[in-house]
């Protein structure tokens, strides 16, 4: 079978990509880039545009000029068209739609009272899948791209392995015991209940597995990460994401109303939102809706949210073993033999990256997704354009601005943190940093003092370059994988999947929300 189609399209896509990269490099797209706020990623636009463009031009010309012959060269080179096709869509999603939607979300926030783009998770993950679905159902995937589109799952698996680098064991150890116990109970419980209900309702194992991860752990990313583990179909991933987002939006509006009606404190509500709401952006949305002028609720909710995300490696392993057993029928065969034969190797890659990241080779071991606190002398010194060392300690003017407004701060913990900052000219601990972020958020002091507090915060918070690079790469692998997956979702396959996931997901979501409300109400005191 000959796979290569003699078409001009890979060449055309290559030329468009190179032209785009050149226009970015020459500054001709400056107004568009400024409008979208994508100035930070112009380097990425050039590197990817030139690289994929050059590949498209060379391979496109080769395929046009040399008649294809059956063999390895034909098989592998014919994938280039599909890769370019997906990348073209991915460029539009990542460099166009994603920033555009984020901007619209921010602009509409004052009128709506919430950021719809953030709440509805309208980022590259969801838009990538949607773009793929629209293409396959409205326009069809062109024949010359079909072979390459089959590489999308490889992209997704590679992204999942690299995802392990964003987490570290030390971060898990730092979390409060209560959050680990509470989250552990509800995450593992939710996963268990979905697996049980899925089996009772005769749902396919792949559908049950991906829904369990989505409902149990952290929503969309967990669903995407676990999908290849249980060999979920594209439609099942789309259904799970739809269920999580719909249920999450409902929770985001209902949780603050219920919390206020019950007279919950900041810590109680933060713990409940962080445990009961399925998706990270919606957790933050609910916490901010509950306490718009402070950061205490958000902080607690974030701690619980991080704890939940850090359960992902455990859930991925659990689902891998569960799926292998269910598919083969473990009562008839040796489990060890089955696992050796069937266990998805890329899950081990994810665990390996998690282990490597925990050793601190990519970033200080206590990092979370690349962000870490460091106020050492070395970290508090930077270099100017000429390479001369510049101190990040607060200057006399900064200290004067803080002292001028210090009397406005009334709470004892905030007062103490502020005094320590003034004395040492830098933030002395993560707790002080969090406490003073609350002061900034509540606008207790004037603008000048708030700017100094923000400056002090930025001086001690660092982002590891290696982890930042991993994040960028993961985003690209996921976009590539999800656009390709979307291209496999036809309307017929959506109808075939039925409404089961929505029912099971909603039931378990409600059980989790009510269960965590009762536990938090009974166990969590305001003073933790």
């Amino acid at each position: 079978m000959v796979y290569t189609r003699r078409t001009v399209w890979p060449l055309v896509l290559g030329i468009i990509m190179v032209a785009y990269a050149y226009l970015v490099q020459a500054g001709m797209l400056e107004p568009v880039i400024k409008f979208l706020g994508t100035g930070r990623i112009t380097g990425e636009m050039q590197i990817l545009g030139y690289t994929f463009g050059a590949i498209g031009i060379v391979i496109g010309l080769l395929q046009l000029l040399v008649p294809p012959k059956e063999g390895q060269g034909d098989y592998y080179l014919s994938m280039v068209g599909g890769v370019l096709f997906i990348m073209m869509v991915a460029f539009i999603v990542k460099w166009g739609l994603d920033p555009l939607m984020a901007q619209w979300g921010r602009q509409a926030q004052p009128a709506l009272g919430f950021n719809f783009a953030s709440v509805m998770n309208l980022n590259y993950v969801v838009m990538g899948i949607l773009a793929g679905i629209i293409i396959v159902n409205v326009f069809k995937v062109p024949g010359w791209a079909e072979n390459g589109v089959r590489l999308s799952r490889l992209g997704l698996k590679t992204g999942v392995i690299l995802l392990g680098a964003l987490y570290s064991l030390a971060e898990l150890a730092q979390l409060g015991r209560l959050s680990v116990v509470l989250i552990g109970f509800f995450v593992l419980g939710s996963v268990g209940v979905v697996l049980w209900m899925g089996a009772r309702r005769n749902m396919p194992n792949s559908m049950t597995g991906v829904l369990a991860a989505g409902v149990g752990v952290c929503g969309v990313s967990a669903a995407v990460a676990s999908a290849p583990v249980v060999k979920a179909k594209s439609t099942e991933i789309a259904y799970t994401i739809g269920t999580i987002l719909l249920f999450g939006v409902l929770c985001m509006f209902l949780f603050p109303i219920i919390g206020k009606a019950m007279g919950m404190g900041f810590i109680q509500f933060g713990a409940w939102a962080g445990t009961g709401i399925l998706n990270s952006a919606q957790v933050a949305g609910a916490a901010l809706a509950f306490q718009p002028n402070g950061i205490e609720t958000l902080k607690v909710a974030e701690i619980f949210n991080i704890t939940r995300v850090l359960f992902l490696p455990i859930i991925v392993l659990w689902l891998a073993v569960w799926y292998v057993r269910r598919e083969v029928g473990a009562e008839k065969v040796d489990l060890v033999q089955v696992i050796v034969g069937k266990f998805p190797v890329f899950v081990l890659g994810f665990i390996l990256m998690f282990a490597l990241s925990s050793t601190g080779i990519f970033a200080p071991a206590q990092h979370y997704q690349g962000s870490y606190f460091d106020n050492s002398d070395k970290a508090m010194t930077t270099k100017d354009k000429d390479g001369k060392p510049v101190s990040k300690l607060l200057g006399d003017k900064d200290l004067a601005a803080l002292q001028a407004d210090a009397a406005k701060v009334q709470r004892q913990d905030q007062k103490a943190a502020l005094q320590r900052l003034i004395q040492n000219k830098k933030l002395m601990s993560i707790d002080d940093d969090d406490t003073l972020r609350g002061v900034v958020n509540a606008k207790i002091m004037g603008k000048a003092a708030n700017d100094v507090l923000t400056k002090a915060h930025r001086a001690v918070r660092h982002t590891a370059k290696k982890i930042a690079m991993f994040r960028d790469l993961i985003a690209w692998f996921f976009t590539f994988g999800l656009v390709g997956l979307g291209m496999q979702i036809t309307m017929a396959s959506i109808k075939q999947a039925g409404g089961q996931p929505l029912v099971v997901g909603s039931i378990v979501g409600v059980i989790k929300a009510v269960g965590s409300l009762i536990v938090v109400w009974l166990l969590v005191a305001e003073t933790i």
């Binding site: 079978m1 079909e146 490889l154 392995i161 190797v345 890659g349 990519f362 290696k466």
Partner: protein, 40 residues
């Protein structure tokens, strides 16, 4: 995309088996991790 369009792999992958795909993803990730570790 129908299964019979491809005589190698399946409708979802270009690789012979899932394990081939897993190993390829693992190798790709480790190469990327090494490059990030060395050059970033």
């Amino acid at each position: 995309m129908a299964e019979d369009k491809f005589d190698r792999g399946s409708a979802l992958t270009v690789f012979k088996t899932d394990r081939h795909e897993d190993f390829m993803a693992l190798v790709l990730s480790l190469v990327i991790a090494l490059l990030v570790y060395l050059f970033v």
